[in-house]
Each structure stands twice: as C-alpha cells, then as structure tokens.
C-alpha cells in the first residue's frame, strides 16, 4: 500500500525522531511511504481560535494535495481529528465539501492505522522501561482511540505499562497554553503529578504536542521523568 504520511508541523520542526520512526516502521512493514513536502500545517491553530476563513486558506491546499492518497496517516491524534472530524465541518457548504469528506474517510491516526487498518500489533520492539501512557484528548474523544496504543505497547519487549490514576488533559490545548498560561500550567502540573504517581521512567504519547507541554513542565521543575513518542518506542529494536 502507498501510505501518504502527514507529519504535523511541530513534529517536523521539533520532534523529527517521531516522524522518522513512523516512516521506518511503515517501510519495514512493506509499505511505500510518501511525504508531501509542501504540506506544513493542518490549519488547526486558526480553526480552534475561531478563524475559519484563515483556517481554510491553510487547509484547502492540504486537502487538494491529499486528494489522491490511498491512505493518509497522521502522526498525531490532534491533527488527525482536525482532518477526520473538523475538515468536513470547516468545508461544509464550500466547493471542497465533498473532498473533505472523502479525505476524512481515508485518514488514519498512526496507531489506529497500524492496529485497525493493517492489523499489526507486534512490531518486535524492545524498550525495557516502566512507562505510562498519556491519551491526547483529541485522539481519545474525537477519534475514540484508546485501545490501539495500549495493544501496541503490550507487545513491546521488556516494557511495563502502568496506567495513571486519572485520565486528564495535559493542559496544552494549542493557543490555550499561551492565552491562559496559568490554567494550562496548573493542568499540566496535575498531569505530571499523576504520571509521577505511577513511578514510570517515561511518559509515552501519540501526541508530541502534549509531550512538548509535559516535558516543558518536567524540565523546568527538574523532574527526572522523560517523555517519548509512541512511534519512537515502537521503532526500538
């Protein structure tokens, strides 16, 4: 299968290892990976701030570039939700309305694609550490992704998964983190405390944006807990 891999802007600029891991995993599974270089961003920042015309300016070319893709795989639950759930809403009543629905139906979040499209659950990875998993809210509640990453982690050699005592948002929320930093940070502190309760060495997530927020707080507070993307864990040998 030819997989069109959509690497979100912050993964591209800040967490290339996460993107590289996705490419290597998909190629190892025998698929041809293409990465449209011209795609920078899904348009979620203006969309979430309520600026729909500005969001369409960014999202329309993305849609057009994804028009012929056999399967679109997005390395983030948040951007995945943008394309799968919010593009049809954003383009409703425009000339892109049908295309938005078509692309949405062929779009997958990375872990969901592995488990539910490819039927792959064991990637032969080895990561001998105690970890906890953070569910990005968009992936969890917009796309209903909860079991997929856990199934994949269960098959990683040496990995011990300890769940946090509560499912909670990390407090990132895109521009929310900058508009209401005090609330965002307070939420992040709750998240870090929940992760600390598990005694995990690593916080793993499908969403690098959440990890950026969590890691930002951990580093500032000098906490030893580390963060790592799910793809990187799955790409270990």
């Amino acid at each position: 299968m030819t997989v069109t891999l959509f690497i979100p802007c912050f993964v591209d600029a800040l967490y290339p290892r996460a993107g590289i891991s996705m490419v290597e995993i998909l190629e190892r599974l025998g698929h041809q990976v293409v990465c449209p270089e011209e795609i920078a961003c899904c348009g979620q920042p203006p969309f979430n701030s309520g600026y729909h015309p500005e969001a369409r300016t960014i999202a329309a070319p993305v849609l057009e570039k994804l028009a012929d893709a056999e399967a679109v795989v997005i390395g983030s639950g948040s951007c995945g939700a943008m394309v799968k759930k919010f593009y049809p809403e954003l383009f409703a009543g425009t000339r892109h309305a049908d295309l938005a629905k078509q692309v949405a139906s062929r779009t997958w979040e990375f872990s969901d694609f592995l488990v539910n499209k490819l039927g792959v659950t064991d990637l032969g990875a080895k990561f001998p550490h105690k970890v906890t998993f953070h569910d990005g809210c968009h992936g969890l509640r917009e796309l209903g992704i909860q079991k997929q990453p856990r199934v994949l982690l269960a098959n990683v050699n040496g990995l011990e998964l300890v769940e946090m005592p509560e499912v909670s948002c990390c407090g990132f929320g895109g521009t929310f983190a900058a508009k209401f930093p005090m609330i965002s940070s307070a939420m992040g502190e709750v998240k870090c405390a929940a992760a600390a309760e598990t005694g995990a060495e690593y916080i793993v997530s499908s969403d690098s944006s959440c990890l950026m927020h969590i890691q930002g707080l951990l580093s500032r507070q000098g906490k030893p807990t580390k963060t790592i993307s799910l793809a990187e864990v799955l790409n270990t040998r």
Binding site: I7, G50, H52, R141, A186, G188
Partner: protein
C-alpha cells in the same frame, strides 16, 4: 480587554496559585468520580440511557411551545397561578408583588440556581424581606455573602474549620468542627424558620407537560419542608425544564442522581401538581409558578447549540472539567460555571463580553463525555469562538493567522521560518522567561523544547 476577561484572568491566576484549595477540590471530585463510576456501572446500559435522555430532552425542547401550554393548562386547572417573565427583572417584580400582596416578611428558600441567575435574594432584601436559604450549602454561602461555588455543591470550597468559624461568628453556635455537629446547628436554626416563614420559595428540576407537575430533587428535605409548611409557595423555573411525560422521570431521576452526585437516587424526588387540594391536610393555600425566559429563547433560536437547553444542571461537566477543578467556581464570575456555563453565558449575557470563557478551554471534551443528556459542550465552545471571531475579529490575532497562512502555504518561507527559529534559539536563552521574552506566556512556567538542526523534512529530502 473587557472587564470580565481581565477579572477572570486575575482570579484564575490567584486560584491556580492556591495549591491547598486545588488539592482540596481535586480530592473531593475524585471521590465523586469513584462514586459516579460505581453507579454508572450499575446501569444495564448507561450509554443507551444517555441517548434516550438526550432524545427525550430534544423532543421537549423542540416542541417547547406545545409542552409549555400543556403544562400551564394543567397547573392552572388545579388552582396554581402561573406567571410568565421574559426577563429577570420581570420575574423579580412578579415575585416581589406576590410577597407584597401576601404581606409577607420572611421567605424560606430551597436551592434554586434560577434565583441566583436573576439575583432574587438581593432584590427581595432591598425591599425589606428576610430571605433565608435552607439548603445547607446555600445557607453557608449566604452567611458568607458569596455566590455558590458549584451549582450542586455550593460550599465545596470551604473546610470544616472555616464553616465552624463562620457559624461561631454569625450564629454564635458551633460546638465543634465535625460535619455532623455543624449540620445539626443548621438544622436547629432552620426548623423554626420553616415554621415561621410566610412564603416558601423553590426552584425546579423538571416540569411535566403531560400531568402539570413540577419535580424537585434534593437530599436534605429542605425543599419538602419549604413546600409543606408556609401558606404561600412560589416556584421559579426556566422554561426549558419541561419533560413531555410523567414516566420520563423514571429515567431522569436516577440519571440526575448518578451524574450529579454519584448517588443511585437522590433522597427526595418530589412532584407537585398544585396547592393543597380539597381533602388534603396540609400544603400551601396558594401556589405561584413563575416561568422564566431571560434569553433562553435566544439560545433556542441557535439551532446548532439548542441542545444546551437540554441541561438538567447536574454539574457533571463541572466535576470532570480540568479548568473548573483548577480555577474553581467563583473565577467564572457567572451564575452557571464550568463547561455548560461557558457555553450558555455568552448567549444569556452577550457573546463578546463572555467569549473568553469559551477560549479558556483546552477543548479536551471530558465535559461532553460526562454529560448525561449528551450536550455537545466542547464543540459548542468552538462554535462560540467561531461566532465571536466572525462577528468581531481581533485585528492582531487575525493578522497573525493570515501571516501564518502565507508561511504555511509557501514551502520556501516555511523552511526559512524553521531555520530562523533554529538560528535564533541560542539567543532565546538570554531572555528566557523575562519580560521581553516573546514566548514568555509559555516560558514563565515551562521550558521550550530544543529545535534540532535537521528537521523531519530535511531528513526526508536528504535520504531521497
């Protein structure tokens, strides 16, 4: 910046800094979650029940006119006096006039968020009436001259010591700081007030169109007494409280208790269909029901967000909301706080003035998941953002997104922006977290991740 947003930010900064209170609220709400999950688990299908409740409310709200007419006709047929109020001011005047007509002096009140919404106590006290809140939590916050912290748990922000000190100061009676002793103080004080009150005032949880009933849910028995002892009873309810059928309560009562407090059923669920009837031995001689619009019809006119009128005020969305948990109820500056408050306040009190509540959300969706009547809460927050930006775009914010759009659509510019970011990264260290740091909103509490020289796209291009 409007005053409500700056006040919101000031209070949010203050409350998020109060680690003791945050922990106190978190512990309480974790206890709630455990109880709620246990009760939800007892349902054969909580999800189907939610869908059914949403459908029932949809039916009620989307035929509101006929249901209201049926409700009112049946109430009136049994001697209840029904009043209609388009605004809070009208409702206050109707109620004050009833009190004047009855030459009433003291009013005993059971919990009603609708009365908070129209600032009833303040208006009645200004006219010289004595108003006593009988719900324990409401009584406590009334003694403190503050608004309820939470629509279901009004005094959840206070410790037993604070309440003991309050009772000592205001009532001169606080034998200890145990919840048991303090509750008994309130019970003693209130007993005589019920008996002496001229008018009993209540809110309502549901109104039944089919049978002409008002249903009140409570745990303490204060509403039962309020509706039993005084000679005159007044009930204020929002027009959206209607349910089509009597039997609908078989579903809604346990769902309200489960979602609201993690209880299988609230202690007293009482349906009133009239004042004291022939052959009955007690109850009010007169019952006045005041139906309140107060811009609910404006929310009704927004078909996209009409389901916000499904709200049964259970408080489940507040309880799970990480924003509410960290900033607390008073920070919102609204009658209805938490996610549902952030959704409806812009409709009830003005979009531009209250849009910040819709922005103050990470859109995590925990509220929508918790809502027993399936209000699409977090998406409504997004719609409020869209409506606010479309009506009055913020100049610099829109400009920023327009520039962002130009960068994102031109790969060369995008590449250049990333490289500039990488190059200027070492300089950022010098100003990090300071007043001139362009990223200070982030860096005040958080580190920024290091930008690698080679981006994903560099790697992709190089390996080809």
């Amino acid at each position: 910046m409007s005053t409500s947003v700056s006040e919101f930010k000031t209070r949010a900064a203050e409350k998020t800094g109060d680690l003791r209170l945050r922990q106190f609220i978190r512990t309480a709400l974790r206890g709630y979650e455990t109880a709620r999950d246990r009760r939800k688990g007892a349902f054969q299908s909580w999800e189907s029940a939610r869908q059914a409740a949403a459908e029932t409310k949809w039916e009620a709200v989307n035929h509101l006119d006929t249901h209201l007419e049926s409700l009112v006709a049946r109430l009136e047929a049994r001697g209840t006096k029904v009043h209609w109020a388009s605004t809070g001011e009208q409702a206050r005047e109707i109620i004050a006039q009833i009190l004047r007509d009855k030459k009433a002096r003291s009013i005993i009140k059971s919990k009603a968020m609708t009365s908070e919404e129209i600032h009833l106590n303040h208006a009645l006290e200004k006219e010289g009436f004595t108003v006593v809140e009988s719900d324990l939590g409401e009584f406590i916050v009334q003694l403190r001259h503050e608004a309820p912290y939470h629509i279901v748990f009004p005094s959840m922000h206070l410790t037993r010591d604070e309440i003991r000190d309050l009772f000592q100061k205001e009532l001169g009676d606080a034998p200890s700081n145990t919840p048991e002793d303090l509750t008994m103080v309130a019970r003693r004080v209130m007993r005589q007030k019920y008996i002496a009150a001229d008018v009993g005032f209540t809110g309502a949880n549901f109104a039944i169109a089919e049978t002409g009933m008002i249903s009140i849910t409570e745990n303490e028995g204060n509403a039962r007494l309020t509706a039993a002892l005084p000679k005159t009873m007044v009930t204020l309810l929002g027009i959206e409280k209607v349910l089509p059928r009597f039997a609908d309560l078989a579903l809604f009562l346990p769902m309200l208790a489960t979602a609201g407090a993690g209880q299988p059923m609230t202690c007293y669920n009482t349906m009133y269909s009239g004042p004291r009837q022939a052959g009955e031995c007690d109850g009010p001689e007169e019952w006045h029901v005041v139906l309140l619009d107060n811009r609910r019809t404006e929310l009704l006119a927004d078909a996209e967000q009409r389901d916000a009128l499904h709200c049964i005020r259970c408080g489940a969305c507040l309880n799970v909301c990480p924003i509410f948990r960290n900033v607390g109820g008073h920070t919102y500056g609204t009658t209805y706080s938490g996610p549902v408050g952030s959704v409806i306040t812009p409709h009830l009190r003005g979009l531009q003035e209250w849009k910040h509540l819709s922005n103050a959300s990470s859109l995590c969706g925990a509220c929508t998941e918790a809502c027993p009547v399936k209000i699409d809460l977090h998406h409504h927050l997004l719609q409020n953002r869209r409506n606010a930006s479309a009506a009055e775009p913020a100049f610099f914010e829109r400009l920023a997104y327009q520039i962002f759009g130009i960068l994102a659509n031109e790969p060369k510019f995008w590449w250049l922006a990333k490289k500039l970011g990488w190059l200027t990264q070492p300089l950022h260290g010098a100003v990090k977290g300071s007043a001139i740091d362009p990223a200070k909103a982030w860096t005040k509490t958080r580190d920024l991740p290091p930008m690698p020289m080679e981006t994903f796209k560099d790697w992709w291009r190089n390996r080809k």
